[in-house]
Amino acid sequence: MAAAIAAVLIVGVMDARADGAPQPKTQAAIVRDAVDQFVLPRIDTFKMRTHELASAVPGACKPDAQPAALAAAQSAFVETVRAWAPLDFVRFGPSARNHRLERVLFWPDPRATAERQLSALLAARKPELLEPGALATQSVAVQGLTALEVLLFSEKQPLGRGDDEAARYRCGMADAIAAALDTVAGEIQSGWMGDDGYRAKILNPGPDNRLYRDTSESAREIAKALVVGFDLVRDRIALPELHAVSRDPPRRARLPFERSRATGVFVVATVDALKDLYGICAFATRVGPDKTWMTNFLTAGWDGLATESRRLDEVRAGEIASKDHLHVVRKLRFDITSIRQIVVRELAANAGIILGFNELDGD
């Protein structure tokens, strides 16, 4: 125990100086801090938001519900989106099991599978599907945020309006989806806990650990999550938008959470979370002495990402393919790609975290 305390103290000394300047972290400290300061607090927040959502949705369907109740449920939905964004790129551990990632967010969905399958369920009106847990046996496309957004933000059939059987079933389905989300959030949360939970596994690598044989493997897992986040911003947001606006004539891309007008919320929360994780990993301290230009370049890149993500909704709402629109999307792609490249090839590598070409993005 004494040795463990001493080790913690030594790590602490390495992590921060008296003047507050960030210091490089050991790989073990990167993993520990990423788990305890990034992943777990955000899972707790997500669980709290899904609980609030599951409480708010039934309120919109009460017989005497006021429009404010639907607005409250919609607001709870947007906050759940905001809370999920930082976890969407943590694609290991309990989130990766039992299709939980897709059960929370079914995306990409180029053929509107979620809406089509949801429509079929609404048409069939099977009462047994509204029983607790029953939705978990259905397609993942109808279990999460993608399907709930269709119900909560329908302009043609606002949730809670009407008292016919179809309207009541829509309400029942919305309740069931919100409850299913809360269940999945609880499973993710509990999967990290306990002696046999994922936190214990990733923080205790060793020869008997089937998932992480040494610290380099667990540190690679953290760094890969960061890279996955960069790739998701590029592939889900920047590239589809560029693809659409560059067509002749320019078109509107279909991005996640457009119906709830939470696309910007999702992108901003993702970008901010990536910067938080980057900071927790202390990668900025790993700029090599011969490449000091990177420090200012990275600062400008992160600042750019913050700006562009916050302007995305505004430029998308304006004239399609306008100068501003193209500027924001192209710059978003440039900044995310540049930072990714530097993290993989320089900063992570300088921290001893080697991300192989094929390991990282094989096919």
């Binding site: 290991f92 551990g93 990409p108 693809h243 490249q341 094989g362």
Partner: protein, 383 residues
């Protein structure tokens, strides 16, 4: 500082024509020089030359012809990342296939004489990164994605007519990745990975939970399905991706597990046209130890050994093709490309620029060569 201008280009999906133009321009200058170097290096008669797609640090993507003793015999620059190289041994040509979602394929002569040719899929298709020549080299079968329907397609291109697309037939599944032609010259086996991707969202997988991977045996003359073997529901997240046939005619596959690593089953299996898929016998490194991902597979020249690379685990495992058991394991970081290199030998390439020629499973000495500033992509082919 990164060289590209952030305002310069749009997405690859819409840059098909521009790419083709750039690729041809890039090829024009070095071709004659490279051909001379290849001849000077004895490439035409050498039997230890390999082809691979690669990223050259500071110089972008390329196709490389390399010798086992560490020389780059030829370098063909590309403006985008390629994946596999299909070899036409009759006419001494090769086709580098763009990786998923791919919009180009580049044919080049192995001896540096022929004019390179670039071809592309139709507007509503993209390549998956693999192709297979017909025995006489007149046709090449490319794995493709029908973007509108999401279905897998085998595109047929006539190599004598500037690689014009002369037809297609279904791959009988979603997400066909590698396809190989069996020794009868008439049966194509397609590894339908089970999920597709939307070109608009790059490489993100669509509907992984609904995956139904399979191996489809297809008559290339009629396009008819001769046999199809899938996986049980419990392991439907095992994407069947890479293939190799052994001496007995069994077709081996290496898979990529799309679920949590701790839930990964065995990743290697085999089937025959008349026999369903059987996973490899337990006892070697299990799916979780291989980190859920086999990057490529190859069979030794005598057909008795299968090699399967696991880049995330940093190793290659060898299996006896008769017993179906793992018999040997070799450690190499980011190992991925595999090519037979003799009766019981393999060459292994890595993302860290290493080519290792491994004697055999019996522990013969290995020759390991490092290519500076080079990251080899998924596949390695003996030329």
């Amino acid at each position: 500082m990164p060289a590209s201008s952030w305002a310069s280009t749009s997405s690859m999906a819409i840059d098909r024509r521009r790419f083709v133009a750039c690729a041809l321009i890039a090829l024009t200058a070095p071709r004659a020089v490279l051909a001379a170097e290849a001849r000077a290096a004895g490439h035409e008669s050498a039997d230890v030359v390999y082809a691979a797609a690669a990223r050259r640090v500071g110089h972008g993507y390329a196709v490389l012809l390399v010798s086992g003793d560490g020389r780059i015999l030829r370098e063909i620059p590309l403006t985008a990342r390629a994946h596999d190289i299909a070899i036409d041994r009759v006419r001494r040509r090769a086709v580098a296939c763009a990786r998923r979602p791919g919009y180009f394929a580049l044919c080049f002569g192995l001896d540096g004489h022929a004019e390179p040719e670039v071809f592309a899929p139709p507007q509503d298709r993209h390549f998956y990164g693999h192709g297979a020549f017909s025995p006489d080299g007149r046709l090449i079968y490319m794995t493709e994605h029908d973007v509108e329907t999401g279905e897998g397609v085998i595109g047929v291109y006539d190599t004598d007519k500037s690689f014009s697309r002369i037809g297609e037939f279904p791959s009988y599944g979603i997400g066909p990745h590698e396809a190989i032609l069996l020794s009868d010259g008439k049966t194509l086996v397609a590894a339908n990975g089970g999920f597709g991707s939307d070109p608009a969202t790059g490489r993100e997988s669509i509907d992984v939970a609904g995956m139904e991977p399979n191996m489809s045996f297809i008559d290339v003359e009629t396009g008819a399905l001769k046999a199809q073997h899938g996986l049980p529901t419990g392991i439907n997240l095992l994407s069947i991706r890479h293939l190799a046939a052994d001496a007995s005619g069994a077709v081996w596959f290496g898979g990529q597990w799309q679920g949590a690593v701790e839930d990964a089953p065995e990743l290697i299996g085999r089937a025959r046209i008349d026999r369903p898929i059987a996973l490899i016998e337990p006892g070697g490194p299990a799916g979780d130890a291989l980190r859920g991902y086999i990057g490529s597979v190859a069979v030794s020249a005598d057909g008795r050994l299968l090699a399967a690379s696991a880049p995330r685990a940093g190793c290659v495992v060898y299996a006896d093709t008769e017993t179906g058991r793992i018999v040997h394991e070799v450690a190499l970081k980011d190992a991925c490309g595999l090519a037979d290199s003799g009766p019981r030998a393999f060459a292994i390439s890595s993302g860290h620029g290493v080519v290792k020629v491994e004697g055999s499973a019996d522990g013969a000495a290995a020759l390991e060569t490092r290519f500076p500033s080079t990251e080899f992509d998924n596949h390695l082919r003996r030329v």
